[in-house]
């Protein structure tokens, strides 16, 4: 945990909130700046990343749009985007807000936040590509990392393709 509260043992909720928001912000900036190679490092070694839809979640259906288990799979995704998959040049702009943080135990917190992802094509075409919620479990060791990040998209529709992670 980032800092100790005045009493000495319990973490200070304010610093916890800041630390989580800082993690979310660094994550968003890395993706938006095309620093895909940094993306796996926001996760723990066995951290999981799953994109799904609110509809599948509500129906209790397990289908992911994208799923990775551990940094190796996250790195595979990046390698494939860099060297195998073909997609038109595009960038995202992440807007992350309404961050809720709740302590789970002494080293872990859960967090829920809202996101908007705007997709900008090379010709300037700009689209509200995705909206939804991040539902996270974050571990604090040296620095906070996602042990689990679930990206729940509000819509079941995806325009053309989803290459860059959300």
């Amino acid at each position: 945990m980032p800092t100790k509260g005045k009493s000495g043992s319990e973490p200070d909720l304010f610093s916890l909130q800041l630390a989580v928001e800082h993690l979310h912000a660094r994550y968003a900036h890395a993706l938006d700046a095309d620093q895909l190679e940094d993306w796996p490092n926001f996760f723990t070694e066995n951290g999981t990343y799953r994109i799904t839809t609110a509809e599948n979640e509500a129906r209790g259906l397990p289908l992911p749009v994208l799923y990775a288990e551990g940094r190796a799979m996250l790195r595979d995704r990046v390698q494939s985007l860099r060297h195998a998959n073909i997609y038109e040049p595009q960038r995202y702009r992440h807007i992350v807000s309404s961050v809720l943080v709740k302590a789970i135990d002494r080293s872990r917190v859960s967090s829920e936040s809202n996101f908007l992802v705007i997709r900008i094509m090379e010709n300037g075409e700009t689209l509200l590509f995705a909206s939804g919620r991040y539902v996270d479990r974050i571990v604090f060791s040296d620095e906070p990392q996602y042990e689990e990040r679930v990206v729940i998209c509000d819509s079941r529709r995806f325009d053309t393709l989803l290459a860059i992670p959300l």
Partner: protein
């Protein structure tokens, strides 16, 4: 009706106006989607319980698909006889009856109009004349049949049974996949920036897979040098292509200097994502099957899915993906299917490019309705064979389309 004429070369040329003409698009709705074709509606598993329903589309027509209290399947146009409003707003659920929210006209599971609110008025005032016949504007009913758990509907009274429509070349390849009752894993929609036929054309194009989808080839999942083949129905309408699991250790791609050639520096750190169990017992790793006009069934390793192609205008198509396993899947198999969901859909390692490539065609041909595609891989015929370096199934699509459209 169409003033367009097809190029003299025949099926080896597909003129670009087929993806652009608004009048033609309207005519396709009438002649193809609402004509003598069977259109995919849903999995039976999605309406497993009595009185359950889903809403979907046949071409642009909104449709309600139901299972009645006695277990029979029905489908009817989602349009109230009164003013034409949607009868059913929800995408799925269970209902004892369907009531249009606008004026509360009510329908049963077969789409029969069962009551008109205040039909006889109140206290002798108002209401409809005794000889009124609102049923004359009732929603259209579809014939419904299912094959191996896949539900199809047609507005046509003339078209033959679903099984004979599919035919003996392709039907066994559906049965091959649907060996047990399916269990739904989930669904999503990919919106494609192109005409619906460009997607069907892409699905039937066995030549592109290992050239566009580099992931395939780099990991030797699918190379044209691997054993495989293609089946095409005699009318060209339906197709099925398959690839065997045997590893290709050759270097045909490397010798030809293909973009998709294998690179030593690019290897999966977590190849378990691709591990396949030969659950169908025939050593086939990939089978892609299409039925005219807009249905695709895929087996990619242990990923199974139905894809429904829904036209939304000349340059917009919705692709509804429904991924499934089987009811008796154990935990490792479900996990495998969910892992391999990474291969398909909008974020699919091997399918994300399809939306982009077909969109590129839509954009590329914008100013050239007078020009045509060159479709001569494998000659000019339409038929089955053991090579996938062919565009025989693509020519099949156009052979069938021209027959329906009388072009």
């Amino acid at each position: 009706m169409l003033e367009r004429s097809w190029p003299a070369e025949g099926l080896t040329r597909v003129p670009y106006w087929v993806y652009q003409d608004v009048d033609l698009y309207r005519e396709e709705q009438r002649r193809i989607f609402h004509g003598p074709t069977w259109n995919y509606l849903c999995l039976e598993a999605e309406i497993a319980e009595p009185q359950s329903f889903v809403t979907t589309f046949v071409g642009e027509m909104p449709v309600v698909v139901t299972r009645d209290a006695a277990g029979a399947l029905h489908a009817f146009e989602n349009r109230c006889a009164h003013r034409g409003a949607l009868i059913c707003m929800q995408s799925r659920g269970k209902a004892e009856r369907f009531s249009c929210i606008y004026h509360n006209w009510t329908y049963d599971h077969a789409g029969n109009l069962t009551s008109v609110a205040f039909r006889k008025g109140i206290a002798g005032k108002g209401g409809m004349p005794a000889d009124a016949k609102p049923e004359t504007q009732a929603p259209k009913k579809l014939r419904v049949e299912s094959v191996h758990g896949l539900v199809f509907g047609t507005l046509s009274k003339e078209v033959s049974s679903l099984e004979s429509y599919i035919g003996p070349e392709i039907l066994p390849r559906i049965k091959r996949v649907m060996i047990k009752p399916p269990r739904l894993l989930g669904s999503y929609t990919q919106v494609l920036p192109n005409n619906w036929k460009l997607y069907m054309d892409n699905v039937k194009d066995t030549y592109h897979a290992s050239l566009l989808h580099v992931f395939f080839t780099r990991f030797r999942i699918n190379r044209l040098t691997q054993e495989g083949g293609v089946f095409v129905s005699p009318d060209g309408a339906h197709h099925c292509t398959y690839t065997k699991m045997i590893e290709d250790r050759g270097d045909a791609y490397e010798k030809d200097g293909m973009r998709s050639a294998s690179s030593q520096k690019f290897q999966l750190e977590a190849p378990e994502l691709l591990e396949q169990v030969d659950e169908l017992g025939d050593g086939v790793s990939i089978q892609i099957l299409s039925l005219f006009p807009g249905f695709v069934l895929h087996q990619i390793r242990n990923s199974l899915a139905a894809r429904q192609v829904v036209p939304k205008g000349i340059d917009r198509t919705e692709l509804h993906w429904t991924l499934f396993g089987f009811v008796d899947d154990d935990e490792p198999m479900t996990r495998r299917r969910l892992m391999q969901a990474n291969l398909v859909g909008p974020a699919g390692y091997i399918s994300m490019e399809d939306g982009a490539a077909t969109g590129f065609v839509q954009r590329g041909v914008a100013a050239s309705p007078d020009r045509a595609s060159v479709i001569e891989m494998g000659g000019s015929g339409v038929g089955s064979g053991d090579s996938r370096i062919t565009e025989t199934a693509v020519r099949g699509l156009w052979k069938a389309w021209r027959k329906y459209m009388d072009v």
